[in-house]
């Protein structure tokens, strides 16, 4: 009943897929043709039109059409290639690519792959129908489907060309005739499968239910047990199942790592899940370009792999988990503890690590990683500025020491802003930047003793109900003004400024 972490392939499924895609490809080709003819005439069906359409049904014509189509596909692929090359060229001109040498090697690789693909395609002729089908569609990396919000580019006029019964019959008849010969050569079961599929029925059985191979069955059973025990929170048992499962060579770790993390999280030894994630990052991180032409049937990219343009899910999970872990371990310790220092070091370590990461491809383009980076600094700034709140009673920090610490906090606040800005620049990522803005202000206020606990708590409590409409100022503006503000602060820490900041803050409050 659950997804099996292995790739199930055998002759039967291969034959089925082949038949299906051959039929689909032919169907869509026919459809394009019919659509084109109706498009060009764009009028009521006249005797001439229907005569032309009837002609289509002839066998001889069909062969021609096939050839034309082949040629068409080929031409299209070449066009695509040139287009891509041009794109890459322009990108390099703009300076988006990281280094010219890398690109070249990459493109060479790709070309080799493409050539391979084409050669095999030519050799086998029809066999690569599946690849043909997959080539037509963009393969998303981050999610299983392509998601778009209905934007202007996306919106089109309503497609009003009705698919009538007769039109469809015409398309289908031809395509069915096309697959008749391959159908003769396949097994009875597959013939039934195809016929039902072409009638719009759906298979009730899945490949997993038909497999009789002992080892595969074993894996299927183990997977089911793993899922059920995780859902029932039987962690120790789940751990044993997981351990058994990952020792089987065929099992793909990439597709079940989440369970490993969850199980290790709930076992007494709490840090091991982080170690596991780190290990995942080291072993499975890939900086290769995501090749659209490859049929990724065995490994599905979202949740499983990363590439040059896509940070693997386990990497971000690792970062978030370690950040949250840091924060949680700091929480109970008092600020001036030795333990605290250690944890603080861990946070610093994490910051260092991310700063290294963001220099390399998948991470430097990923807004989320930048956001994590900013969050780290936010946490750091929070911790450091908190010292000032406590100092109100103790009065430890004076003079130079105090100035240094203030500078530290301001440095981190500055980093938060910079990285958030980068994150926004990368785009595609939503940040509650107004909230962070308020928080940063609060940190600054802490430095000068005039903390506004009450207000802050209100903000934090009322956070869930924050009014949406009031969020007008984009982060960019605030950042600009604050940069100046920051400079003045660094130079001169006069109480007037302090007050000004406060006023500014309360203004915002009232506006809200």
């Amino acid at each position: 009943m659950f997804e099996v972490p292995i790739t199930l392939t055998n002759k039967k499924f291969a034959q089925r897929r082949k038949l299906k895609y051959q039929y689909i490809n032919h169907l869509s080709r026919r459809f394009d043709k019919v659509a084109k003819t109706t498009n060009t005439t764009d009028s009521l069906p006249t005797p001439e039109n229907s005569a032309v359409e009837n002609n289509d049904d002839d066998y001889d014509y069909d062969e021609d059409e096939e050839q034309i189509d082949e040629a068409d596909v080929y031409r299209r692929s070449i066009l695509q290639q040139t287009k891509r090359r041009r794109e890459r060229h322009w990108k390099s001109v703009v300076g988006e690519l990281y280094s010219s040498t890398e690109t070249e090697s990459d493109s060479q690789q790709e070309e080799i792959q493409e050539n391979d693909g084409r050669e095999t395609g030519r050799k086998n002729g029809d066999t690569d129908e599946e690849r043909k089908f997959w080539k037509k569609h963009e393969k998303p990396e981050r999610s299983f489907e392509i998601w778009q919000t209905a934007s202007l580019q996306n919106k089109g006029p309503i497609n009003r060309r009705k698919m009538t019964y007769h039109k469809f019959q015409k398309i289908q008849k031809n395509s069915l005739r096309k697959v008749q010969i391959p159908l003769l050569h396949c097994t009875k079961e597959n013939r039934l499968y195809f016929r039902s599929l072409s009638k719009g029925l759906e298979p009730l059985q899945t490949p997993t239910s038909t497999i009789r191979n002992y080892q595969t069955r074993h894996i299927i059973t183990l997977t089911n047990l793993l899922h059920i025990n995780v859902s029932r929170h039987n962690w120790s048992l789940a751990y044993r199942i997981f351990a058994t499962l990952i020792r089987i060579p065929e099992v793909q770790m990439k597709s079940i790592w989440g369970f490993g993390v969850k199980i290790l999280d709930n076992l007494p030894d709490s840090s091991s899940s982080l170690d596991f994630l780190q290990w995942m990052c080291q072993i499975y991180s890939s900086k290769a370009r995501f090749v659209q032409n490859i049929n990724h049937r065995s490994i599905v990219p979202p949740f499983q792999t990363g590439s040059r343009t896509h940070t693997a899910k386990f990497a971000t999970t690792y970062l978030w988990a370690s950040l949250i872990n840091c924060q949680k371990s700091i929480e109970p310790s008092t600020i001036n503890d030795k333990h605290y220092d250690m944890e603080n070091d861990r946070l610093q370590e994490l910051i260092d690590k991310i700063s290294e990461w963001v220099l390399t491809p998948p991470f430097m383009e990923d807004a989320e990683v930048w956001f994590i980076y900013a969050s780290c600094h936010l946490l750091k700034a929070d911790i450091l500025s908190r010292q000032f709140v406590n100092d109100g009673t103790k009065g430890d920090l004076i003079g130079l020491d105090r100035d240094i610490k203030i500078n530290q906090v301001i440095k981190h606040i500055h980093y938060v802003k910079v990285f958030l800005q980068t994150c926004l620049d990368k785009g595609g990522f939503t940040i509650p930047n107004r909230l962070i803005e308020i928080q940063l202000k609060n940190f600054e206020l802490r430095l000068y003793g005039e903390t506004q606990d009450v207000q802050e708590r209100e903000i934090v409590d009322g956070y869930d109900e924050t009014d949406i409409s009031s969020v007008e100022n984009s982060f960019g503006d605030v950042y600009e003004t604050n940069a100046e503000f920051l400079d003045t602060q660094l130079m001169d820490l006069s109480p007037e400024d302090n007050e000004m900041a406060e006023n500014h803050h309360s203004d915002e409050e009232s506006s809200e």
Partner: protein
């Protein structure tokens, strides 16, 4: 931070799965001591871990689609066309059913008598043989052989197991749900400010062509109305899908429509009124919209506009959608559903083979979502644009979509459960997703949503189910007031156990109509959130619709009501469902009586516990013995007195011991009781009174020999000690009850005259049989003979012969069953011995015939030598004879 409050990808929102973390937000606080979470995560960690540990609290049968419920009145208005016979094919006017009684569908079709099965029929096509003149048609019908073959195959399949039937490799995705439960509000409900009625609509009948509409009542759980009044309408075509619209909350009323797709038409029914007492439903219907009228394309799905009760949308098998209008009332001649001409379009995709399509309204009056397996397209039919929001051509497929409310919906793909919401521009955006890890190739996955209101949030519990197994995958999303969606971060798997049927056909959830339970569902303690979820479920291959109540409450914390519900959910409730008020009263009285008895019993037991240590028991037992003997004496005397009458009337004189004395149970010591009984038996046996040997009867309780009552008691106690802390006492009570009710006594001397009389009245042969029956003496003799033979046999090598002698001797028909065992056993010994003794030629020959193993298969072999055949023959005969004997004796026993 406009949409949602969680940081995340613009387009994708938060992607979650088991063990996967998504973007979170750090919320610094002044004091670490405050309980508030420091992080705002996409996983809602404010709910306790066990919030989703649902288990079944109650389960009852809502109704059974195999039963045709009675309805008294004619509900449907007579159609204009009276001539049903002629018009039945073309114009499917609904007939009223002749609802005479509850009719359960016959299991197998009756085969007419004159149909004969031939293996093969050759039809000569040669024109030479074609008959030109009149020939009487033979009275035998012809059935094509391949049809016969198919039938045979299917019947074999059906007979072999339900599993093979389940393995039919394909299903039709256009058959959506043939069952719907929803609140409706009729016109009079609206006028009287009534909230509405829960109505069930389902398809039934052999071909699922019968539309049934019934009113449900809610008493603790959901039931069919008291009168079992279900209105049935024959549609003459298999029903594929039934839907009752859910309207938007903003318009403040509910619909009263039922939409039905059959094999050849689309039709809308309106529930005009519901009689509150008899639960009669008055239904009018629109004229069916035949697929012939809409380009011969089969409509596979439809939706009702939640803001406009008169607008609907349909989509056909190739993806052509159309908006239509429902006429205001179906009474007059304008009952036709109108498709609006310029509001149509298509999402046809040549790459899409499956005929699964879905259409649903989205966040606005003019926005619809249209789905096929690989696309979700948002369409604004007023402003005339469409946009492809989801394209699922590669790694996943769309499986199902459910509208949650005016803003949100849940999309189920083959890999994820996705919450979709409307952005400020009312466009569909993805908010949060949960990777469910179910088999991505399972095409039958569907989802049902139950909203659970809590104080500060709304819990959306998603049930993902499949036609392939009985498991429900449960995941929950919590939604804060600010439209912030969070996942609960884990999911559970529920198993619905129900006999042989595998796969869930449909799960339906019903929103609570009134928010009053909100208070009840709030947090009891800090970390204890009670979640109660209800749904109705119909399993594949099962005709029953069940109503389940699930809760995450711990069993110890059940309140009284729930316990009652749980206890009630057996077959009895089903039986009593149909009872009227008078019957209910008497049932109630019965139950109270039972309860009274029970409490009496328990109080007695408790008093016994207290008395156990006091020494009044000996005295009591003595007294009991005395009373018993007195009563027995009296009885015997009375028997003596009425002896002659008894003989004449032929009545028997025996009595239960239980009837003799009253208050016979107030003691606890079983050994004492045993000794009392022993003394009692011994005493009366001397007086020629026979007792039933109850110890032999006790054997049937435990399936083993019980030498003593004490042991019987101990064994029972072993079984029951786990059940109750008072098992000891209860067992004692039961043992006493058993003993008292088992022991009977009689006086054999009284029976003798009766017996004599009866025997004399019999004819000769029967008398002989009866005489031979009681002959014990020869049997013993025979047994001793056998033993002699055995000893003889060990000394003599001529085993075959001696055995034969024995067999010929023992032709006297007086062998008893106990002897049979002995005989066969001895024969075995004989065989082994034969194999061992190798000194004589005969035995070696014997060895050659007898198989190595001990199987008695030697009778099947035809041995070559006559001598040996003789031996084996005799053996067969003897064994046969023994078997025969056995039968005869068993017949008497």
């Amino acid at each position: 931070m406009s949409e949602g409050q969680l940081p995340g990808s613009h387009v994708l929102g938060s992607q979650l799965g088991v063990g996967v973390q998504s973007a979170s937000l750090y919320r610094p606080q002044e004091n670490y001591s405050t309980k508030k979470a420091q992080w705002l995560r996409s996983v809602d960690d404010t709910l306790p871990e066990g919030a989703l540990n649902l288990h079944v609290v109650a389960k009852n049968v809502l109704c059974d689609t195999a039963i045709r419920y009675i309805s008294d009145d004619k509900i449907l208005q007579e159609s204009d066309n009276d001539d049903d016979l002629i018009a039945s094919d073309l114009d499917e006017n609904m007939d009223d059913l002749q609802n005479t009684s509850i009719v359960v569908n016959p299991v197998a079709p009756a085969v007419p008598k004159h149909v004969h099965f031939f293996k093969k029929v050759d039809i000569d096509n040669d024109p030479m043989f074609s008959v030109n003149c009149y020939v009487p048609v033979p009275l035998q019908d012809y059935i094509p052989s391949d049809l016969l073959h198919n039938l045979k195959g299917s019947s074999q399949e059906g007979a072999s197991s339900s599993k093979s039937r389940q393995d039919t490799p394909f299903w039709d995705p256009t058959v959506a749900n043939r069952l719907e439960i929803e609140h409706i509000q009729t016109a009079s409900d609206l006028r009287n400010y009534r909230d509405g009625t829960e109505v069930i609509a389902y398809a039934s009948g052999k071909t699922n062509s019968l539309l049934n509409v019934g009113v449900l009542t809610r008493q603790d759980t959901l039931h069919l109305n008291r009168h079992n009044n279900v209105t049935s309408i024959e549609l003459h075509s298999p029903i594929r899908s039934i839907k009752i619209p859910r309207t938007s909350e903003s318009i403040g009323r509910r619909s009263n429509l039922v939409g039905v797709i059959t094999e050849n038409s689309f039709q809308i029914f309106r529930i005009e009124s519901i009689h509150s007492k008899s639960c009669d439903v008055v239904i009018t219907s629109s004229e069916p919209l035949y697929f012939v009228e809409v380009d011969d394309m089969q409509i596979v799905d439809f939706a009702f506009n939640p803001w406009d009760l008169q607008q609907f949308a349909t989509i056909d098998v190739r993806g052509n959608w159309n908006i239509g209008m429902i006429p205001k009332n179906f009474n007059n001649n304008k009952r036709k559903l109108q498709l609006i001409d310029n509001l149509h379009g298509t999402i046809f995709d040549p790459e899409e083979l499956s005929s699964w399509k879905k259409i649903e309204w989205f966040s606005q009056f003019q926005r619809i979502l249209v789905f096929d397996r690989s696309k979700m397209i948002e369409i604004d039919f007023i402003n005339g644009w469409q946009a492809e929001v989801v394209q699922a051509k590669t790694w996943s497929n769309i499986r199902d979509y459910k509208r949650v409310d005016d803003e949100n919906g849940i999309l189920l793909t083959s890999r994820e459960i996705i919450i979709m919401g409307a952005s400020e521009a009312n466009d569909a955006v993805r908010r949060i997703s949960w990777k469910h890890d179910l088999d991505p190739d399972d095409t039958t996955l569907k989802v049902a949503i139950q909203k659970v209101k809590m104080l500060d949030r709304l819990l959306l519990v998603a049930f993902v189910y499949s036609m392939r197994h009985n498991h429900i995958y449960v995941h929950a999303f919590s939604r804060k007031k600010s439209n912030l969606f969070q996942s609960l971060g884990y999911s559970t798997v529920l198993e619905i156990s129900n006999g042989a049927s595998t796969g869930i056909e449909v799960i339906l959830t019903l929103d609570e109509i009134n928010g009053e339970e909100q208070g009840e569902r709030e947090d009891n303690g800090d970390n204890n959130v009670r979640v109660v979820v209800n749904f109705s479920i119909k399993l594949r291959n099962s005709s029953k619709i069940y109503y389940y109540t699930l809760s995450n409450a711990q069993t110890s914390k059940f309140n009284e009501q729930e316990k009652f519900v749980a206890g009630d959910c057996n077959e009895w409730t089903l039986l009593f469902n149909n009872a009227d008020s008078r019957e209910m009263e008497s049932i109630g009285a019965l139950i109270s009586q039972i309860k009274m008895k029970e409490s009496e019993h328990i109080s007695r037991i408790q008093s016994l516990v207290e008395d156990e240590n006091s020494h009044g028991e000996d005295k009591y037992l003595q007294d009991l013995g005395y009373r018993l003997s007195m009563a027995t004496n009296e009885l015997l005397e009375s028997w003596e007195r009425t002896r002659d009458e008894n003989i004449r009337s032929g009545s028997m004189s025996y009595s239960k011991l239980e009837n003799l004395v009253e208050d016979s149970n107030s003691f606890t010591s079983i050994p004492e009781f045993v000794s009392l009984l022993d003394q009692f038996f011994r005493y009366y046996k001397d007086q020629d009174v026979a007792f039933l040997e109850f110890k032999k009867l006790l054997r049937f309780f435990l399936h083993e020999d019980v030498p003593d009552l004490d042991i019987f008691y101990n064994k029972l106690l072993q079984c029951w000690v786990l059940v109750s802390p008072q098992a000891g006492l209860l067992t004692k009570e039961i043992v006493k009850d058993i003993v008292w009710s088992l022991i009977r006594l009689e006086e054999p001397s009284l029976f003798e005259p009766i017996q004599k009389e009866i025997t004399q009245s019999l004819s000769k042969p029967y008398q002989d049989i009866i005489d031979s029956w009681d002959m014990d003496a020869p049997e013993e003799e025979d047994e001793s003979n056998e033993f002699n033979f055995n000893s003889q046999f060990s000394s003599t090598p001529f085993n075959g012969r001696s055995q034969f002698n024995l067999n010929s001797q023992s032709q006297i028909p007086t062998i008893k069953s106990s002897q049979n065992n002995g005989l066969t056993r001895r024969k075995r010994i004989l065989k082994t011995q034969t194999q061992k003794v190798a000194s004589t030629s005969q035995s070696t020959q014997n060895l050659s015939i007898l198989p190595d193993s001990m199987t008695p298969a030697f009778t099947l072999m035809q041995p070559p030598s006559s001598q040996i055949s003789f031996v084996s023959d005799s053996q067969t005969r003897s064994s046969q004879r023994a078997r025969k004997k056995k039968k005869r004796i068993r017949g008497f026993g």
